[in-house]
Amino acid sequence: MYEFQYHRATSLDDAASRLADEEAKLVAGGMTLIPTLKLRLAKPTELIDLAAIPSLKGITEEGDAVVIGAMTRHADVNRSDVVKRAIPALATLAGHIGDPAVRNRGTIGGSIANNDPAADYPAAVVGLNATVRTNKREIAADQFFTGLFETALQPGEIVTAVRFPKVAQANYQKFKNPASRYAIVGVFVARTPAGVRVAVSGAGACVFRVPAMETALAANFSPDAIKDIQIPQDGLNSDIHASAEYRAHLVNVMARRAVQACA
């Protein structure tokens, strides 16, 4: 690691003002950032730790939605009675991110702000049609994830919470990379109030939806309905672990399994 200043922010405003320095970086759970720093792949001048801002933590019900604070850890989401009751698929997904020690530190805000193409949460945020709250505004899931490790967050903008509509019928199926255990392909299928959504992680540079599957499932919510819907390979990730062709195939398999598990 390169040396840096460390600042434990006392409030959201404190953190935001420090973030005016473009070389500064926020640290939430640090489960991605610290390994990145250890490999000297980033050189921030200052790390602004969000751990001591109480307002960023916790899980609350707001009418027909569940709001999860940005600094809420995967282990907390996994164990939350509120989440388990309102959106069981989300609790299950959180319980399969990384490994137990990672889940005891990693946070939802850190995960979605980083937008790793193989991360799990982006699939849930898009699949459930969630809304990302920041210190400045609310951003719809479909607008939040914009590309490889890129989001709609502007300089100085900090994720404060994610608002998930309550959706009982949803499921996430992950095919893990045998080495890293990240998703080679993860498919989140949900029957939301706004219709069926299918969100895919791991396969492309950024989480994406599969409209053809959504349409077919809206008409007939069964694995058979999407059996023949193959997504195009163009633009999918291809590496030593999985070719684009294999990933495209797995999207179909995982989507069918998710639908099956929902039904």
Binding site: F175, P178, A179, S180, R181, I240, H241, H249
Partner: protein, 795 residues
């Protein structure tokens, strides 16, 4: 005294310190005033070094010194030696290019050490390393061993190894094999790759060099399986330090699997540099450095042909293998694909004539050397795969074809056509035990049940033989080894009867402190808690060749027995003197020296006290003390064997494989501690299964970049990848060591890959699959299924 501890599951004496965080691994050691070394490594697979500018680094904060290859060359520092000379079939010696400690003029693989930066903290050294400017002229690289031998391939060593060929070695009667193949009813052929592996002991390598200004002595603390060998190689060949001035300490070692046998550049760098900077210098590998600097394993490309007669008897085997050496010759690299491979190609079978040719290729990759099993897994994978292909072509049950060709239990000693003489074994029994434990007879029903669930289920057998207890020095010397492969032991009985054993074997997880203590407790009849095992320090132990090749019990344990024999012989003379009897009349049993046929006896504690307080002592005949040393040079290899059976299921939708059952029946000869033996088998199986389905070291074929350089890309077996294992043993005793022991450390890694591969091919046999390359990843299996399904549909 109790009945004895041999054969019982004594809990390990090592465990208390490891379980309480009190183990002492090399990186746990800190020397007063120590500095830290960071090794700057080549980012290129092949490049000329035009210039290195270290001036900015030398003035960076905390930096004490920066050294490059020229600095060491200027002082006449030698290269890292190779310990085994292999001759080509035309009699010419292998090509043995230099192996500089720090690269000079060229770098030849990603990770090749280029400079060392020494600073007050590790982070300062690493910060300063970014200020070292190396001007590289990048050149074309070659990483695949078969590609390296093609005309026009990039040349790793130019004129020093034309065509990248290190040697072209052969064993066996080629004309006889060709004739037998021509006359065979059927010739079964296979082409296969034995995938390259990274050993990945969980403890990264580390080294601390310490020069003592007052005495001129050096101490090296290092993560080694054989500290005496490091002292010999580094002292004599690299740094030119007399043994008497160099102490090598290998404290607790966190796994090795072969990778910590070898003498590595970093050991020489920190030792040499400690004299330069006049302070201890510590280096600890980061895991990403381990991936690009620990010797790798396997990496063979092979074509083989097996001749079979009308009754299914094997009549000849012909093997041509290309083996990857990497960019430099590591300590024992050259013997692995030759004397530890070609000699094992008879396997458990009576194949009368065998020919093996091995071409060793230089490539722009990390050096390749022995990794758990070392040559024997490669031989077993080949033999057991081709036997299964033969069974398929003959329409025979693979178990029956094996039975038909086994060396019978009454045929020992058995001389193979590839130089080895097996002393004992019973292959029918271990196979039968495994078949029963695996319910082989009931498999077809399970296959059908799986099919009903939409899964392909398969079962695969592998039998194996290994040559362990390495090795008779005269034999290996005649084959090119530049070392003897004996072992030493000193058994020091103290005046009050406790015992210290100093052994040249050095555990890195095998539990020697327990197993050896069992030997001594039973052998001398003393309580086990009165026995202390000392290892891993050249200042304490007379000499040692270390721990690898499943040799510690068969060779090191036998040395302990020989030393105990001397203690007992001396004790008998002392007892005879005190008891006024003839030494021929003294019997030793359960710790007591007794005049035969009488109740007159003395305990070993009383004898020991007399030996050190020699008032009533046969001074004219004996010296005082009860401390005996033995060096044991084995008479032959030992030959563990066994049968492994894997049962797997494949999900055709994803290609995902599940290991449903794994059964191993092994013959390790006499077993001292069955719990430790089972643990060795479990660990070997995990590595063998890892090779079969998870692990594969991948280089970019064009750039020579290491693509699997971390645990994010190199798939290590995890708990949920593996099943519970079903183990059993059946002992035929080794005939040429007094314990009858054979060795158990490598068996799992040898048998498992072929068992898994055979199970996969069996599962997909209905689709017409004939072979699958390792690691059999989900995508590979999915493609195999899809390709054969579409092929079947087209027919």
């Amino acid at each position: 005294m109790p009945d004895g501890t041999i054969g019982t599951p004594v809990r390990r004496r090592e465990d208390y310190r490891f379980l309480t965080g009190q183990g002492t691994y090399t990186d746990d050691i800190n020397r007063p005033g120590q500095l830290y070394a960071y090794i700057l490594r080549s980012p290129h697979a092949s490049a000329r070094i035009n210039a290195i500018n270290t001036s900015a680094a030398k003035t960076a904060p905390g930096v004490a010194a920066v050294f490059v290859g020229q600095d060491m060359a200027a002082e006449g520092i030698g290269g890292l030696p190779c310990g085994w000379l292999v001759n080509s079939k035309d009699g010419s010696p292998m090509k043995e290019p230099p192996h500089p400690v720090l690269a000079v003029e060229r770098v030849r693989h990603v990770g090749d050490p280029v400079a060392v930066i020494i600073a007050e903290s590790y982070q300062q050294a690493k910060d300063a390393a970014e200020k070292v400017a190396v001007d590289y002229a990048v050149e074309a690289a070659v990483v695949d061993p078969a590609a390296a031998l093609q005309p026009g391939a990039p040349q790793v060593w130019g004129d020093q190894a034309p065509g990248n060929l290190c040697y072209d070695w052969a064993l066996g009667d080629e004309a006889a094999v060709d004739a037998a193949l021509r006359g065979a009813a059927r010739v079964v052929k296979i082409d296969l790759v034995n995938n390259r592996l990274v050993p990945n002991a969980m403890e990264p390598r580390a080294a601390i060099g310490e020069f003592n200004r007052a005495t001129g002595d050096y101490t090296l603390y290092t993560t080694s399986q054989n500290p005496h060998v490091i002292r010999l190689l580094m002292g004599a060949f690299v740094l030119h330090i007399p043994e008497a001035r160099l102490r090598v300490v290998a404290p607790d070692v966190g796994g090795g699997f072969g990778s910590k046998i070898y003498h590595y550049a970093e050991e020489a760098i920190v030792t040499w540099a400690s004299a330069k900077v006049r302070k201890p210098v510590k280096w600890t590998a980061e895991r990403s450095e381990s991936f690009m600097s620990d010797a790798h394993g396997r990496d063979h490309v092979t074509h083989a042909e097996l001749g079979v007669d009308a009754q299914g008897k094997f009549v000849a085997l012909k093997v041509v293998t290309i083996a990857n050496m990497g960019a430099y010759l590591s300590t024992f690299a050259t013997c692995v694909p030759t004397y530890l491979y070609g000699t094992l190609l008879a396997g458990t079978y009576t194949t009368p004539v065998i020919f093996c040719e091995t071409k060793a290729a230089f490539t722009n990759t990390v050096p390749v050397d022995a990794y758990r099993g070392a040559g024997r897994p490669e031989a077993t994978f080949l033999v057991e795969r081709i036997v299964d292909v033969a069974a398929d072509e003959l329409g025979m049950d693979p178990a029956e074809l094996r039975r038909r060709n086994f060396i019978p239990a009454n045929a020992f000693p058995y001389q193979t056509p590839v130089a080895l003489q097996y002393d004992s074994g019973d292959y029918q029994t271990t196979l039968q035990m495994a078949l029963q434990a695996a319910d082989y007879a009931g498999f077809e029903a399970r296959r059908q049940q799986a099919a009903a669930r939409g899964k392909y289920r398969g079962i695969g057998i592998a039998t194996y033989i290994e040559a362990c207890g390495i090795a008779p020095s005269a034999v290996v010397g005649s084959l090119g080894a530049r070392a003897g492969l004996f072992e030493s032991a000193e058994v020091r009985v103290h005046p009050t009867g406790s015992v210290t054993v100093l052994t040249g074997s050095h555990a890195h997880g095998q539990g020697h402190e327990t197993t050896f203590a069992q030997l001594v407790a039973d052998g001398l009849g003393v309580p086990i808690d009165q026995v202390e095992i000392v290892h891993g320090d050249t200042d304490k132990i007379a000499f040692g060749m270390g721990t690898y090749g499943s040799r510690s019990l068969a060779v090191g344990g036998t040395a302990i027995v020989k030393a105990m024999d001397k203690v007992i012989a001396k004790g008998k003379k002392i007892a005879a003197h005190i008891l006024e009897a003839s030494d021929a009349d003294i019997e030793f049993k359960d710790g007591r020296f007794t005049v035969a046929g009488t109740d007159r006896s003395l305990g070993i504690g009383e004898i020991a006290l007399t030996a050190y307080v020699p008032h009533n002592f046969p001074h004219e005949e004996l010296e005082p003390g009860l401390d005996e040393t033995a060096f044991y040079d084995p008479k032959n290899f030992t030959f563990p064997s066994g049968a492994h059976i894997a049962e797997i299921e494949i999900d055709p939708d994803t290609g995902r494989l599940e290991i449903c059952n794994f059964t191993a029946s092994d013959d390790f000869g006499r077993i001292i501690n069955p719990m430790i033996v089972a643990g060795q088998v479990h660990g070997g199986l995990a590595q063998g299964i890892g090779q079969a389905v998870l692990e594969g070291c991948v280089y970019d074929k064009t750039t020579g970049q290491l693509l699997t350089g971390s645990y994010n890309d190199y798939a290590m077996p995890r708990a949920d990848d593996l099943p519970n294992f079903s183990l059993s043993t059946h002992a035929t005793l080794c005939t040429h060591n007094p314990l009858g022991v054979k060795g158990c450390g490598e068996a799992g890694a040898i048998g498992a890959p072929a068992a898994i591969a055979n199970a996969i091919v069996d599962a997909l046999k209905p689709l017409g699959l004939r072979h699958v390359e390792m690691p059999a990843t989900p995508e590979k299996l999915w493609r195999a299924i899809r390709q054969h399904q579409s092929g079947a549909a087209a027919e």
